[in-house]
């Protein structure tokens, strides 16, 4: 087990729906009711057209590995080497994450490989959206 704890996110009123979603086992994104833009990170208006009318919806939780680094130095809550990754969701937005369920090596972490959500419960309030190589 790694020493220490990974940094814990602190939800705000504008992001609470996202963290409520991960706790419930859903990856929730937002879409503009006016221009249909899907966006991340959460905010109560559209960053493309400034409309305040936006909807929260359950995303597929599927995407592809977009880019990453493999960190080789110790960080509280992590056992090096570990990948700090960005995935591109099928719905379009990209998000930072970790890739679980596979070796943390360049050989195993192939860009554009399909990934799927793997929720990681941190405590009763926070569940992080990690990703793993997609099965089949």
């Amino acid at each position: 087990m790694p020493e220490g704890q990974r940094p814990r996110p602190q939800p705000t009123p504008e992001t609470q729906h996202f963290w409520d979603g991960t706790r419930a086992g859903e990856l929730r994104l937002q879409r503009c009711n006016s221009c249909q833009k899907t966006y991340f990170p959460p905010r109560p208006f559209c960053p493309s057209c400034a409309a305040r009318e936006v909807s929260v919806f359950k995303a597929t939780g599927k995407g592809r590995l977009y880019s990453y680094v493999i960190h080789h130095r110790p960080v509280p809550g992590f056992t090096p080497p570990y990948a700090i990754a960005v995935v591109e969701l099928d719905e379009g937005p990209r998000m930072m994450t970790n890739i679980t369920g596979c070796p943390q090596t360049p050989e195993a972490l192939v860009l554009d490989m399909p990934v799927e959500i793997a929720f990681e419960k941190i405590d009763d309030d926070i569940t992080l959206p990690l990703f793993r190589p997609a099965k089949g």
């Binding site: 990170p41 680094v69 700090i84």
Partner: protein
């Protein structure tokens, strides 16, 4: 901005560079500011505007005994000083101030009196990046590169060559931290930090500072140093989260700041004699060369490999040795500006003979911000 309406008449770094545990962060600001005022033949009563980052303008103005009519505390990371130059030029041109001091000081290595704030767990980066284990710039600035490598076929050897070439420039600079030549193999055998980045592809961590003094060009002939005129300036910002960059192979902030400065200067790329591109990590000169239009997309690494930016090449780049080999306190942009000024004054350790136009391009945060300053030593250009 009208061409050559604004001049840099004072420029200096801290007396020492590298490891300076006897000075705190404000002490480094002050040491550089005092050296720049001496360089310009001015005292604190002659300064009526101040801009700084890292410390607030209030702290620096009070510490130095300056009563400003104009202040700018733009703090967007290492390119803040490029943006200060741009804002100072606008302020002088519009009559808000006559003589503006821009200061930087950072105890990056010794950590004496640092003010760097911790990121809030409630910020967007605190919620959507920090939980995944990034630990500072080596793990964040570097994240887009694998996507660039796959898109354009950039190789590990090419990425290593950036550091090799910059060490060649550093070897010519007595104040550089590192002087000994290195090879591509040396870089690729250095300690892994954050794959694909190894130690020699990451910037130094040192103590230092720098300061600039700007005034209107019509006063410049009254100062002791050869004036350096501003030809064009640009600035922009993109995102506080590297994961949210629009394009992992290009910086939007670069693509706004650079062309804005070139359009204002009214110059072609072939007019540029000397170039500085803030190199916190080895990929930055590659992104910069392309986003500023010196190279087509995907061609900058070959351009560097073929020694176009090396000593003797047609586009001398990062001639002080850069953040990889000269120094890097944390917000390196001031040192890039200092090298451009030295080149335009004709006093750089690795002086480019006859250089008349220098482009100085900075980055702030992890591709979060950018500022570009184009200078010339020719009046009335």
């Amino acid at each position: 901005m009208k061409h050559d309406s604004i001049a840099i008449v004072g420029a200096a770094e801290t007396t020492e560079m590298g490891r300076i545990p006897e000075l705190s962060q404000i002490g480094l600001h002050a040491d550089a500011a005092l050296n720049a005022m001496k360089d310009a033949g001015l005292g604190p009563k002659d300064i009526d505007g101040i801009a700084t980052a890292g410390e607030t303008p209030v702290t620096i103005a009070h510490y130095l005994g300056i009563t400003p009519k104009w202040v700018d505390g733009t703090a967007v990371g290492g390119c803040s000083f490029m943006i200060h130059v741009r804002h100072a030029a606008a302020a002088i041109e519009s009559g808000l101030a006559k003589t503006i001091l821009i200061t930087h000081g950072e105890s990056g290595r010794s950590g004496v009196g640092r003010t760097r704030p911790a990121a809030s767990a409630a910020s967007l980066a605190g919620q959507f990046e920090a939980p995944y284990g990034p630990m500072g710039p080596p793990t964040l600035f570097t994240i887009p590169v694998l996507r660039y490598m796959k898109t354009y076929g950039l190789t590990h050897e090419q990425l290593a060559m950036v550091a090799v070439v910059q060490r060649e420039w550093a070897a010519k600079n007595p104040r550089a931290t590192f002087h000994d030549p290195i090879t591509v193999d040396d870089v690729l055998n250095s300690r892994m930090i954050a794959y694909p980045f190894r130690l020699l592809q990451c910037c130094l961590v040192t103590d230092g500072g720098g300061a600039l003094i700007l005034t209107s060009a019509d006063r410049a002939k009254d100062f002791p140093q050869k004036p350096v005129y501003l030809l064009g300036t640009g600035e922009s910002v993109e995102t506080p989260m590297v994961s949210q960059m629009e394009d992992f192979t290009s910086s939007r902030a670069f693509r706004v700041a650079g062309p804005t400065a070139f359009a204002e200067a009214g110059i072609k790329h072939s007019d540029v004699d000397h170039l500085m591109i803030y190199d916190a990590f080895a990929h930055l000169p590659i992104y910069g060369l392309e986003d500023l239009g010196f190279c087509k997309k995907g061609e900058a690494a070959s351009f560097i490999w073929e020694r176009n930016t090396a000593p003797g090449g047609k586009l001398p780049l990062n001639t002080n040795g850069g953040g990889l080999s000269y120094m890097h306190s944390g917000m390196y942009g001031m040192y890039a500006l200092q090298e451009s000024v030295r080149q335009m004054r004709g006093i750089a350790p690795a002086q480019i003979p006859g250089a008349k136009i220098s482009v100085c391009h900075g980055v702030g945060g992890m591709f979060a911000a950018s500022g570009t300053i184009i200078m010339t030593n020719e009046a009335g250009r």
